[in-house]
């Protein structure tokens, strides 16, 4: 018979000491600095900031170091830290139209004003391992071009001028915050977008992919994808006016999807939206596809029962910290629970065997 016991403190301490030693690895190899992770593992840092829902590159780099490169563990550390911060307030919504773009492409208009700016992309690389990176050396110097202050208007704005795409209704209403109020279903689009932008990249990617493969198909074009820095402005209570308090790099994806129309409105394109902290392109495109899929009923489409059209399914399972917490807790001691199951199965077996014997007699 099992009973609940206390113990394991020394084992836990020893495990954590060993963890620290393993984290460091071979001491003959130089130790990684937080700045090295921030600068050279920047996309991992971006993912941790996006899913940790806290933009702070140094902190994310430190969390990656502490987590030995386990990004979900690092995101967990960031989320836990975030809860300790007093909330000073809310900034004004970022103006992505004013973004200083490192990258801006459109898959719908070759000659979009402002042009197709590739930026520092993996696209068009051959995905061959570059053994030169294993040797130390200076990187090539990036080329500089003639930067003119040509505006990069939104592609959806251009379509909107002709009424070819649904307008987003502007509103100055303060959005709901799922970090302050527990999520309830049905949720609203602002809550869905908040959940998606901090959702697990792999999960959101798979949901988006499922729509492309036919489970709630909505035929997206990437109208525009832009990556760059935008200022963050906040109204300072002591001053009574808004000032810039910082800057964030964002990835924004707007999809242009197939049409709806009605008796009053001729057919027009619909849209999906993705906006994510950092250079996080795969996630932003995925978010836009899933956003669009979740709007099916609002846009008067048939809900085909596809997973990506099911708000509760998507939003309740998109958070990797909730998921990992519930999943991983089952490895912790369940001795008493299991004892009950063990008793039960023994009882069932003895009853079944007794019946079997009676039937045989």
């Amino acid at each position: 018979m099992y009973v609940a016991v206390k113990g394991g403190e020394q084992a836990i301490d020893a495990a954590h000491d060993w963890l620290a030693e393993e984290r460091r690895g071979d001491v003959a190899v130089p130790e990684l600095s937080v700045a090295q992770i921030r600068e050279q593992m920047a996309l991992a840092v971006n993912r941790v900031m996006a899913e940790g829902s806290l933009y702070d590159p140094d902190l994310a780099a430190l969390a990656i170091k502490q987590a030995r490169g386990d990004l979900i563990e690092a995101i967990f550390l960031i989320r836990a830290y975030r809860t300790t911060l007093p909330r000073f307030g809310s900034a004004q919504p970022v103006e992505t139209g004013q973004m200083a773009c490192d990258r801006r492409i459109s898959a719908t208009f070759k000659d979009a004003p402002g042009g197709q700016v590739l930026g520092p992309t993996f696209d068009y690389t051959h995905r061959l391992i570059d053994f030169a990176l294993a040797a130390e050396g200076e990187p090539p110097v990036a080329r500089e071009g003639e930067a003119n202050a040509e505006a990069m208007p939104r592609v959806t704005g251009m379509l909107g001028r002709d009424g070819l795409i649904q307008q987003e209704a502007p509103s100055d209403e303060a959005p709901p915050d799922l970090t302050r109020t527990p999520l309830e279903f049905p949720a609203t689009r602002p809550l869905r977008l908040q959940a998606l932008t901090r959702g697990d990249e792999g999960f959101v990617l798979s949901m988006a992919y499922s729509t492309q493969r036919g489970y709630g198909r909505n035929h997206p074009f990437v109208g525009e994808l832009r990556i760059g820095a935008v200022p963050v402005e906040m109204e300072i209570p002591e001053l009574g006016f808004a000032v810039e308090i910082g800057e964030v790099v964002l990835t924004e994806c707007e999809t242009v999807n197939q049409f709806i129309g009605s008796k009053t409105e001729p057919p027009q394109f619909t849209r999906g939206y993705g906006l994510v902290f950092g250079q996080t392109e795969r996630k932003a495109i995925s978010m836009a596809l899933v956003d669009r899929a979740l709007r099916c009923e609002e846009l008067g489409e048939d809900n085909l029962g596809a997973p990506a059209q099911d708000e509760e399914f998507v939003i309740a399972h998109s958070d990797n910290i909730q998921a990992t917490g519930f999943l991983e807790h089952i490895k912790l001691p369940h001795y008493v629970d299991f004892q009950a199951e063990l008793e039960l199965v023994r009882k069932l077996r003895s009853e079944a065997m007794a019946e079997h014997r009676e039937a045989a007699e």
């Binding site: 911060l85 000073f88 200083a100 987003e168 970090t179 689009r189 910082g246 964002l250």
Partner: protein, 138 residues
């Protein structure tokens, strides 16, 4: 205040060093780190939704001569917030021109140069399309 908030902590520390002797002050609010929620807009132009938080450090101080300086700066660097608030207070004193010249101007220049360098690199990756004339159009 935007320039001060956007400055790299090391650059602001160096610029403030150039100011020489700094006035005495008392804290009205000691530097504290917190979070600010940043919203985005649906479709870039529509209703707001919450994107995530940024770390921010804020403080307020009062110079011996009475001027009050505030700072809200991104990140968790308390000394950086203190320097920003001190510059904000000094901007209301007779040393405003000195602060503009020795602190704000170099920081603005550094930021403009950083922006220019990124924009130039982006411009080098702009696609120049050339169209192939097809047979039937020739």
């Amino acid at each position: 205040m935007g320039t001060l908030a956007q400055a790299k902590p090391a650059a602001l520390a160096k610029a403030v060093g150039a100011l020489g002797a700094l006035p005495d002050f008392t804290w009205m609010r000691r530097p504290e780190a917190g979070g600010v929620m940043v919203p985005g807009r649906m479709g870039g132009t529509g209703a707001a939704f919450n994107l995530g938080e940024i770390t921010v450090t804020r403080c307020a101080l009062k110079l011996a001569s009475g001027e009050v300086g505030h700072a809200y700066v991104q990140g968790r660097d308390k000394a950086h917030a203190g320097r920003a608030a001190l510059c904000d207070a000094l901007m209301q004193t007779g040393r405003a021109d000195e602060v503009k010249r020795l602190v704000l101007a170099p920081l603005d220049a550094a930021r403009a140069e950083a922006r220019r360098a990124r924009a130039a690199r982006a411009a080098a990756t702009k696609v120049e399309f050339f169209t192939l004339v097809r047979g039937e159009d020739a």
